[in-house]
């Protein structure tokens, strides 16, 4: 396998049972493509949480998952994206979570605050995004156009030893 880049895209109607299938594929694929078990573990966590989020929020149709790994020094080297359509209330909740994260001092404290808030709640709490930020050690961004939402998680990684 080419260690310099490894990219794949998947379109599917998200169902929870399929998320684990995708997560296992991501684990197996990037374990071979990259020599970094810690990074692969964080990528699989991120992929699972973004897809769970898509299952919860997907209005209809397909979710588009993209994972790319490259070594362009000008851009993040691991990028994981989901794109799907969502209801207005889910989009509003997502905007609110991103505002909170932007206002927060750091990922670890935001994760702890979100844990405290979600205890005892059964509705959406944003714990998945907080977990990606803190445990996945990923930068997060989003874009909303109409009823389509794109969530992107990215991280720069050290170039592998030759």
């Amino acid at each position: 396998l080419d260690r310099e880049s490894a990219h794949f895209e998947l379109f599917f109607s998200p169902r929870t049972i399929l998320i684990s299938v995708v997560r296992r594929f991501v684990t197996d694929f990037y374990r071979e493509a990259l020599d970094d078990t810690d990074l692969v573990s964080r990528m699989t966590l991120t992929t699972h949480e973004l897809l769970e989020n898509a299952v919860k929020c997907c209005k209809s149709g397909e979710t588009h998952l993209t994972i790319s790994v490259g070594h362009d020094p000008e851009r993040p080297q691991v990028v994981i994206e989901t794109r799907n359509r969502a209801d207005a209330c889910d989009l509003e909740a997502l905007r609110a979570r991103f505002h909170e994260m932007q206002d927060s001092s750091d990922a670890a404290s935001y994760y702890q605050t979100t844990m405290r808030r979600c205890a005892g709640r059964t509705d959406g709490s944003g714990l998945g995004l907080a977990r990606i930020w803190a445990e996945g050690d990923m930068s997060l961004s989003h874009a909303i156009v109409g009823d389509s939402v794109l969530i992107q998680a990215s991280v720069r990684v050290p170039r592998p030893n030759p």
């Binding site: 929870t16 684990s20 205890a119």
Partner: protein, 129 residues
């Protein structure tokens, strides 16, 4: 008194399993497979049952064996946060600790359990195997 509480996945292809057993004063809960969001309602019920049993039997520690748990999503992690918060909010004399037994090979466990330890260091213990 011995108690057993069991839980398994409901959907086809779902490999999740959980079993809690009390033998004397020791409660051990073992998890296997993947805890995804479909599991959460039943997991919450199970953790509630374990909590009530722990109070009734005046348990001082519950062991939670995660060594065969491939992955846990944030919805299920939230159930653990809820359980730990419930213990934290009790009077100190009635509290018990939760000892997570974690696999070194499953790297997500290290990060998730660090977060739970930071959340409730007085309740959460972590043992690596």
């Amino acid at each position: 008194m011995n108690t057993r509480i069991e839980l398994s996945g409901g959907a086809p292809g779902d490999d999740f399993r959980a079993a809690a057993a009390r033998v004397g004063g020791i409660v051990t809960v073992r998890f296997e497979g993947t805890a995804d969001s479909t599991i959460r309602p039943r997991l919450e019920t199970m953790l509630g049952d374990i909590h009530r049993d722990a109070l009734r039997e005046r348990t001082t520690e519950v062991n939670v064996d995660l060594t065969k748990l491939e992955f846990m999503c944030s919805s299920c992690l939230r159930s653990f946060v809820g359980w730990i918060t419930t213990i934290q909010e009790m009077e100190s004399h009635g509290r018990y600790t939760v000892r997570f037994v974690s696999s070194r090979e499953l790297l997500w466990q290290k990060r998730s359990l660090q977060a739970l330890s930071a959340y409730a260091g007085d309740i959460v213990r972590v043992q690596l195997v």
